[in-house]
């Protein structure tokens, strides 16, 4: 175990996988010479050379399409899309290409590509650089989508993503890059599709993703002072979803809150809420509560941004409503 920042854990995962498999290569805007605007690809150009670590033009749509076919043609590309806000430019290549051909061509090709990006608000980056568009990618069949909340998960899930034969989207969070945590020395792969219990509790289950896991843990600590013991489940994998872990937790607590930083309406939280209701209806003593961003473009000014984004208070309020 070493203590690493989340960005460093990702960097180590890339380095190890590139060392292990010469077909792994990286491309994206500002990732080579500069090492990435969040420094996740730091030093890799020097270590692996310009053939395997490539700066690119600003051409997200084509870069994503290229990742799909470079993967089909036998390499393992890892593409960095600088902000999740630019995922819309990738969606055609994901929904009309990446998610299609494995099945439609009867298994003739596999598409072991990884698309890493980072989303989320709270940094004053404005309406076009603060969104969590998880729902867009989680809707696409044939893809896997993961969202690590800790350095260990960032490391283990990115490694698993690179080795996966399917397209995997890795959703990072700009406010987590500096988070420190223990990371196993080597190995430490994490199976995609498995949730993690971040805190045990008997009174209510909070199902959270990415940075919302930390806010939920904070909410849980405060609620404990009120005598409410919340279980916090870090979903980690958005697609496929660990339905078993969800059902087991609700069977214990009978109350559920889902927390995703994206917009509520038609967002990822809607899927969680619907799934819980479908799978655990008889165990539920109250409706599932849904916490997410308000359905409006994310404003710049700090007090506005704070109002629009989900926070610890919103989670606590939802837990209290769920326990009514």
């Amino acid at each position: 175990m070493t203590s690493l920042r989340y960005a460093e854990a990702l960097n180590r995962a890339l380095r190890e996988e590139m060392t292990r498999d010469p077909m792994v290569w990286l491309f994206g805007e500002d990732i080579a010479t500069y090492g990435g605007v969040f420094k996740v690809t730091k030093d890799l150009l020097g270590e692996f050379g310009p053939g395997r670590v490539r700066d690119t033009p600003i051409s997200e749509q084509t870069l994503t399409a290229m990742a799909v076919t470079a993967a089909m043609a036998g390499t393992r590309p890892v593409l960095e899309i600088m902000y999740a806000d630019f995922l819309p430019l990738s969606i055609d290549a994901l929904v009309n290409q990446a998610g299609v051909f494995d099945y439609i061509w009867g298994g003739q090709v596999s598409i072991p590509m990884v698309l890493r990006t980072q989303g989320g608000g709270g940094a004053g980056a404005g309406a076009q650089h603060s969104k969590s568009l998880d729902a867009f990618v989680a809707h696409i069949p044939g893809l896997k989508v993961v969202a690590p909340a800790t350095p260990a998960d960032a490391y283990g899930l990115l490694k698993a993503a690179i080795r996966d034969p399917n397209p995997v989207i890795v959703l990072e969070h700009k406010l987590l890059y500096n988070l420190r945590g223990e990371v196993p020395e080597d190995g430490g792969l994490i199976e995609i599709g498995r949730a993690r219990t971040a805190r045990e509790g008997r009174d209510v289950s909070i199902f959270a993703t990415s940075r919302m896991v930390h806010l939920s843990l904070e909410a849980a600590e405060k609620l404990a002072a009120e005598g409410i013991e919340a279980e916090v489940i870090d979903l980690r994998s958005l697609r496929p979803l660990d339905v078993g872990a969800i059902v087991a937790s609700v069977a214990k607590t009978h109350h559920a809150v889902v927390v995703n930083e994206g917009w509520r309406f038609c967002g990822y939280g809607a899927e969680l809420s619907a799934t819980i209701m479908e799978q655990a209806f008889d165990d539920l003593d109250a409706p599932v509560e849904r916490v997410g961003a308000m359905d409006v473009a994310i404003p710049y000014s700090e007090p506005l941004e704070k109002t629009v984004l989900p926070d610890v208070e919103a989670i606590m309020a939802a837990v209290r409503r769920a326990r009514r």
Binding site: P57, Q61, T62, M72, A73, G74, D102, V109, P240
Partner: protein, 329 residues
């Protein structure tokens, strides 16, 4: 761009094979239109009658390991790249024996063994697709090439610009074959392209670009062979614009009314199969060509007969998709 020197000309055998494949494509499409009239096809079918020289001659010098991306109008590419006619027909009729088990259908045909991955019905998508494959080829240090054949309509898409810029920047082994058939669906080229000669745009990427007679199979072969050789040598991409014409409308659902009779008549005179026949007849005699024609016709007839009696597939859940949701629906 290449001086079309004799060095690049197809051999007589290659030329005859181009001829035979063009006839296969023509007969295949005639049969499909006939089936359509009888109400026996499903979904739109896009024919390339009149354009066979591009799809067949441009792929004639490729290896099976060279990778090709095609379009919604890909019959000539499928046949050119060596797919079995029966597997194509079975796919178009949604049979389990189709090259994709009936899942892909007419527009998305693929066959990895022949390096065709594959047809694509998102206009322009084949361009970045081939570029990505070329990046893989470069990384693997192979001397294969990737080729995309795409239309004049596709040339106006943003991904065409992005992909050509990256291909030239990285000197990727890709050949851009622009099949200019004067229309994008029903929209005439002058209503969708700001300039007439699209190969001019190659200069915007610092790569060679040329416009050629796409209905002359030999000119197509020679020009493309040069671009392929250049790519194999690691010298980067080229753009070849082939001028041609769709003789039978954009698809089986075309309701007509936007092409002039004069224009259609003028292009009918330039039929690439007739022109190839004329050239080859002088070299090998009509009898050899008649025999090849008969062979092609028999191949198509057999393909339809077997394919149409082949079984339909049965749905099987796909493990890569979300298992929970599939299980519940």
């Amino acid at each position: 761009m290449p001086d079309p020197s004799l060095a690049n000309a197809p051999s007589i055998e290659e030329h005859l094979e181009i001829f035979r494949k063009m006839v296969v494509v023509r007969r295949l499409e005639e049969a499909l239109r006939e089936m359509h009239r009888q109400g026996k096809t499903r979904g739109p079918i896009h024919c390339c009658d009149g354009q066979e020289a591009v799809g067949v001659a441009a792929t004639a010098m490729l290896r099976p390991t060279d990778l090709l991306t095609s379009t919604h109008r890909g019959h000539a590419n499928y046949v050119g790249k060596g797919l079995s006619t029966r597997a194509i027909v079975a796919e178009i009729f949604g049979r389990a024996t189709g090259c994709c088990g009936g899942r892909a259908g007419h527009m998305l045909v693929a066959d990895i063994d022949h390096g065709l991955i594959g047809g694509n019905a998102i206009v322009g998508a084949g361009i970045p697709a081939a570029t990505g494959m070329a990046a893989a080829i470069q990384l693997k240090k192979l001397d294969d090439v990737a080729m995309c054949i795409f239309g004049d309509g596709a040339a106006q898409t943003g991904i065409c610009h992005e992909a050509m810029n990256i291909a030239a920047l990285w000197a990727l082994p890709v050949v851009f074959v622009l099949e200019h058939n004067a229309y994008g669906l029903t929209v005439a080229a002058e209503k969708q392209s700001s300039i007439e000669t699209l190969s001019v745009r190659a200069a915007g990427y610092g790569m060679p670009g040329v416009t050629i007679d796409g209905n002359d199979a030999v000119v197509v072969y020679r020009t493309i062979a040069d671009a392929v050789a250049r790519a194999r040598r690691g010298e980067g991409p080229s753009l070849v614009e082939c001028r041609t014409y769709r003789m039978t409308g954009f698809s089986t659902s075309d309701m007509g009314g936007y092409q002039s009779a004069d224009e259609m008549a003028a292009w009918a005179d330039k039929d690439p199969i007739r022109r190839t026949w004329d050239v080859l007849a002088a070299e090998v005699g009509a009898a050899r060509l008649d025999a090849l024609t008969a062979e092609a016709e028999a191949e198509v007839r057999d393909a339809f007969e077997t394919a149409l009696s082949d079984p339909f597939p049965v749905f099987e859940p796909h493990p890569a998709s979300n298992p929970h949701s599939v299980a519940l629906s």
